[in-house]
Symmetry: C2
């Protein structure tokens, strides 16, 4: 058991849209991701997904509106809801999601990561 310092962990990687695992509890992962640019529209069939913005500003596009998240704000996207994260500038987020979650949800394309890396 050891504590995790978010900033130290964010300093360990540079790639965008590649969430890294930093914690495990109750069959859930805690992940950190750096986002920049536009992701793809997707949804998760059986998993709710939480985005907590640690740095920057995240625009979460939904089919009927957009939710603008600042540092210190989080959003839980319920299963089944289509969403598309957009980061005009670099954004750092903490994600909380079941181990079964695939980053692109129902969609399989070049953005899909089959497995996340522990850092």
């Amino acid at each position: 058991m050891q504590k995790i310092n978010l900033m130290e962990k964010f300093n360990l990687f540079d790639q965008y849209w590649t969430p890294k695992i930093v914690g495990e509890l109750n069959d859930q992962w805690v992940k950190l991701a750096k986002l920049k640019g536009e992701f793809v529209w997707h949804h998760h069939q059986a998993e709710d997904e939480m985005f907590l913005v640690v740095k920057g500003q995240l625009r979460m596009q939904l089919r009927d509106r957009e939710i603008n998240l600042q540092a210190g704000e989080f959003l839980i996207v319920p299963r089944g809801v289509e969403h598309k994260p957009v980061a005009d500038q670099e954004v750092h987020v903490l994600l909380f999601e079941p181990k079964t979650t695939v980053n692109t949800g129902d969609l399989r394309d070049e953005h899909t990561l089959e497995e996340s890396e522990w850092i």
Copy 2:
């Protein structure tokens, strides 16, 4: 679906050691708590518990050592591990835990909350 601003939610309550629910996903709660003083030794039989410090400094006492958490750091206390949170000054934490978690774990005493409140 709406975003949650941590600071706004922390401003809604004053009581110490009474975690408030601010989110729900995958049968887990996201809770916020204000801590000050010493809690009681306890463990959770079947739940891992995550403490993310948002403000202040938390001393997590374990039977064999103490882990000092600053803002921007988190600790996952695995099920079965006895722990005692101590806050010399006011601390704000975000908690992730299964819905089945009772704040005092195996222990039932005057600190025990049978139900947490949504804010």
